[in-house]
């Protein structure tokens, strides 16, 4: 089965439908599937539930899907960088489920690993715990959180091969590996598709079994907070 597709539009063909759940990798704008997000917007699909740690910014990343009101619900841990998001949410146009970041990551990991639920201390005694099963282990209270799976996961990696093996670069890894594993279909966009055998098998982050389609694409890699230090003059 051929996994390499010519572009983002072709890679999403036949995979999208209204009301679907989409996982979108990345942390802030770092390691997001820039091209697949735009291609997803251009399919015109609506009523999306999007699982993503953040919601992009107003004019980049998932902000594109918010501008066009294609998202019905977001499951995220932090959305503070997107004013359009805040406006839609306060106006009641958008549903929002906040998950603590580690709980969100583990829900994706668990979903991909076939684990329907797990207990965690995170959120005990807060609004996050309301309505959830509580259980004691060794005298400590934990709450039950559920695994998450998506109809489609869109992820971004540095390099990949025709088998769908992926390698991420630096902190652009973030949510991408767990989301790749939790998609019923996973599409990866990479900066470079390399010949089979050129990735070190000991250093592959996402084994190709999790990836159904892969494209090579150009990335703008916008920076949210450019912080630098001055060189001391000699």
């Amino acid at each position: 089965m051929k996994k390499i597709f010519p572009d983002a539009k072709a890679a999403l063909d036949g995979l999208v439908f209204d009301g679907m759940t989409v996982m979108s990798g990345g942390f802030g704008l770092c390691g997001i599937a820039e091209n697949l997000i735009i291609a997803l917007r251009d399919t015109g699909v609506t009523d999306l539930t999007v699982v993503s740690n953040n919601a992009g910014i107003d004019d980049f990343g998932l902000g594109f899907l918010l501008q066009t009101c294609q998202i019905k619900k977001m499951i995220s841990s932090y959305v503070g960088e997107n004013k359009e998001f805040e406006r839609q949410y306060l106006a009641g146009e958008l549903e929002l489920e906040f998950n603590p970041q580690g709980t969100l990551a583990e829900r994706c990991r668990a979903g991909g690993a076939g684990i329907p639920g797990f207990y965690t201390k995170t959120g005990v005694g807060t609004v996050i715990a309301e309505g959830k099963e509580h259980k004691e282990f060794n005298g400590e209270t934990y709450i039950l959180e559920t695994g998450l799976v998506a109809d489609l996961s869109i992820v971004k990696a540095w390099k990949g091969d025709e088998q769908g093996n992926l390698v991420y670069r630096k902190t652009a890894r973030n949510f991408n590996p767990v989301m790749a594993s939790a998609g019923k279909a996973t599409v990866a966009e990479v900066e470079e598709i390399v010949p089979l055998g050129s990735l070190n098998p000991d250093c592959i982050h996402t084994p190709g079994i999790y990836v159904q389609r892969i494209i090579e694409a150009k990335h703008e890699k916008r920076i949210e907070q450019r912080t630098v230090r001055e060189r001391q003059s000699a």
Partner: protein, 214 residues
């Protein structure tokens, strides 16, 4: 007289011990990195997926694939490792991080922390804060003692939605330092330069004991 942001960060840095793995939150906690004693070896964790966080890059070193949890560009060190967000929070939840320094909007005398939400006003989210306070061995809060209008932020009970219950071990404000012990409550253990106990009492709602060594 009281401590400024850098003095608060410097005081927080004294809580870091040799060999510690430490997570620093956004705002004043980020400044703690500038005050770490050079004689100790500390590894900073960034919860988006990095151990061994280096300083901000020089202008020609900026790398969009290398950011901290505040989305700021940073650098790596020779000790650096990268991992997924799930692995990162396994470290945090699993109790492998020794200390976390966080900001706060409110702290109660029992050590409850509120730092993620103002209902009807602010929609941002908790990010990793709930996981950090639930999993990290020791939680240090750095914050202004009172709001700009003089309203206390150290309270009997938090009025804002909680980040965690009975999770704060130490609070450093511009006026002084408080220890919080489960079942014992809050104790003022240090005063900022030029601050007296009555100054602190006037701006604090929470009950606290005083054990300031002179």
């Amino acid at each position: 007289m009281a401590w400024d942001r850098n003095q608060m960060a410097a005081r927080a840095a004294r809580e870091l011990k040799d060999g510690f793995y430490v997570n620093l939150g956004i705002g004043i906690p980020t400044l703690v990195a500038n005050h770490i004693d050079e004689s100790i070896d500390v590894t900073l964790q960034s919860e988006n997926g990095m151990l061994g966080m280096g300083p901000f890059p020089y202008d020609d070193e900026v790398d969009a694939d290398l950011i901290n949890a505040g989305k700021q560009t940073i650098t790596e060190l020779r000790r650096t490792s990268y991992f997924s967000s799930a692995e990162s929070f396994a470290m945090i939840r699993g109790g492998h991080i020794d200390l976390s320094v966080l900001g706060a909007m409110e702290v109660s005398e029992k050590g409850d922390l509120a730092n993620w939400m103002i209902p009807g006003k602010m929609v941002k989210g908790m990010g990793g804060a709930m996981d950090l306070v639930a999993g990290v061995k020791r939680v240090v809060v750095v914050m202004d003692h009172a709001s700009k209008s003089g309203a206390p932020k150290l309270l009997h009970e938090c009025s804002l939605p909680l980040t965690g219950r009975a999770v704060v071990d130490l609070v450093i404000t511009n006026l002084g330092v408080f220890e919080i012990e489960t079942g014992k409550g809050m104790t003022l253990v240090e005063l900022a330069s030029g601050v007296c106990v009555d100054d602190v009492k006037g701006l604090t709602q929470a009950d606290f004991d005083v054990a300031v060594s002179s």
